[in-house]
Symmetry: C2
Subunit: 201 residues, 2 copies
C-alpha cells in the first residue's frame, strides 16, 4: 500500500467521485487507524476542501459505514446465494467458501478494515453483530452438512467455522491482487485445504 | 508522573516481579497499542514509580523485546524439536502444528502482541524477520513432505504455510484459556482440519 502522505494535495482535482473518496479514506483508516484519521487530514489528502468532501459524505462515520457495508454486503450476498442453492449442504458450503475468498480478493481494503473493527462505536458494534450473524449461519450450514454425513462430525461446527474463516481472513495479511485468475486459484487452494486437507491420504 | 506524590500509596509494593510486570505491560500494549503506551502510564497501572519499574526493565523497548522473544522463542523451539525428530516429514509437520497451537494457547498474550507487530522499529522489524524465517522453515518442511508423497503437491507450499498459520494465528482472536485439555482438543481440531480436511471423503 502506498503511503497516503506521499501524494501532494491536488486541490480541485477533477474525477474524485464518491467511490474514489471512499477508497482513499479506507486506505488512510487502514494505514493510521480510523480514530486517528481526521476529516481535515482526509480532505488534505484528497486535495478537497472539507465542504467539498462533505458534499459526498455527510461524516467520517458515513465513510466507515459505507466501507463496512461493502465488505459485509459482499460476504452476506455470497452466503445467501449459497444457502439458496439446490444440492447438498457440502456443495453450499463449498460455494460459500469459494465466493467468500473472491469477495475478499475483490474488496481487499474493505474486508481488511472490517477485520480491524473492535467495537469502539455503534457503527463498529453493528458490524461486529453482522459478522457474528454471518458466523452463526455458516455454523448452521456446517451442522446440516454434518447431519447429511458429508462433513466430519468430530470437530465442533462453531470451532470449524472459526478455523475456516481464520484461514480465509488471514489472506488479507499477504494477498496482493494481480488478477481474477490468481484469486480463483487461491479460492481453490482454500477449498482444497479446508475440505480435503493437505494430506494425501 | 514526575511528581512522586502521585504514587506514594503503592510505592515499593511487594509481589511485582519481572514476569508480572511483563504480563501487565503486554496487556496494556494489546489494549491501547505499544506506541500509545507510555512508561508513566505503565508505572501508574503497576502502582510503581518509574525508577522502580526501570529497576526491572531498562526501557519500554526491553519489555517489547522480552515479550516478543517469549512468543517467537516458544514457536521456534517447537519447530526445532519437530525438525530434529525421526520419522516422516508429515509426522514432523504434525508435531510442529500441534506444538504451535499449544504455545499459542499457553502464551496467548505474547503471541497476540507478536501478530500485531507491523515493523515500526528495529525490534519489530527483527521480530518480523524471525517470523519470515519461521515460515521459510515450515515451507521447507512442507516441500519435503510433498516430495515424500505424504502431503498433496497441488497446493504451493508457501501458500499452504500461509493458510495453515492463518488458521492457527486466528485462534488468538477468540480463544480464552480454561485449561490444558481444552488446548489439546483445539490442537487436535487444527491438525484434523489442516491435514485431513472437513470432508468425510
Amino acid at each position: 500500500m502506498s503511503d497516503p502522505s506521499q501524494t501532494p494535495a491536488r486541490r480541485g482535482r477533477p474525477g474524485y467521485d464518491r467511490e474514489r473518496i471512499l477508497e482513499i479514506a479506507v486506505e488512510m483508516f487502514i494505514a493510521q487507524g480510523y480514530d486517528a484519521t481526521s476529516v481535515s487530514a482526509l480532505a488534505a489528502r484528497l486535495g478537497l476542501s472539507k465542504s467539498a468532501l462533505y458534499h459526498h459524505f455527510a461524516s467520517k462515520e458515513e465513510l466507515l459505514q459505507v466501507a463496512l457495508d461493502e465488505a459485509l454486503g459482499g460476504l452476506e450476498a455470497v452466503l445467501a446465494e449459497a444457502e439458496a442453492r439446490d444440492g447438498s449442504a457440502r456443495e453450499r458450503l463449498e460455494h460459500m467458501l469459494l465466493g467468500a475468498v473472491l469477495v475478499l480478493a475483490d474488496r481487499l481494503a474493505y474486508v481488511t478494515l472490517l477485520l480491524r473493527v473492535r467495537g469502539n462505536s455503534d457503527i463498529e458494534r453493528a458490524a461486529l453483530e453482522r459478522r457474528r450473524e454471518f458466523d452463526r449461519r455458516v455454523t448452521a450450514l456446517l451442522r446440516v452438512a454434518q447431519a447429511e454425513g458429508t462433513v466430519r462430525s468430530d470437530v465442533d461446527p462453531s470451532v470449524a467455522t472459526r478455523l475456516l474463516f481464520g484461514m480465509v481472513n488471514s489472506i488479507v495479511e499477504w494477498y496482493r491482487p494481480t488478477g481474477a485468475e490468481q484469486a480463483k486459484d487461491l479460492a481453490r487452494d482454500v477449498l482444497t485445504v479446508a475440505l480435503d486437507g493437505l494430506a494425501t491420504s
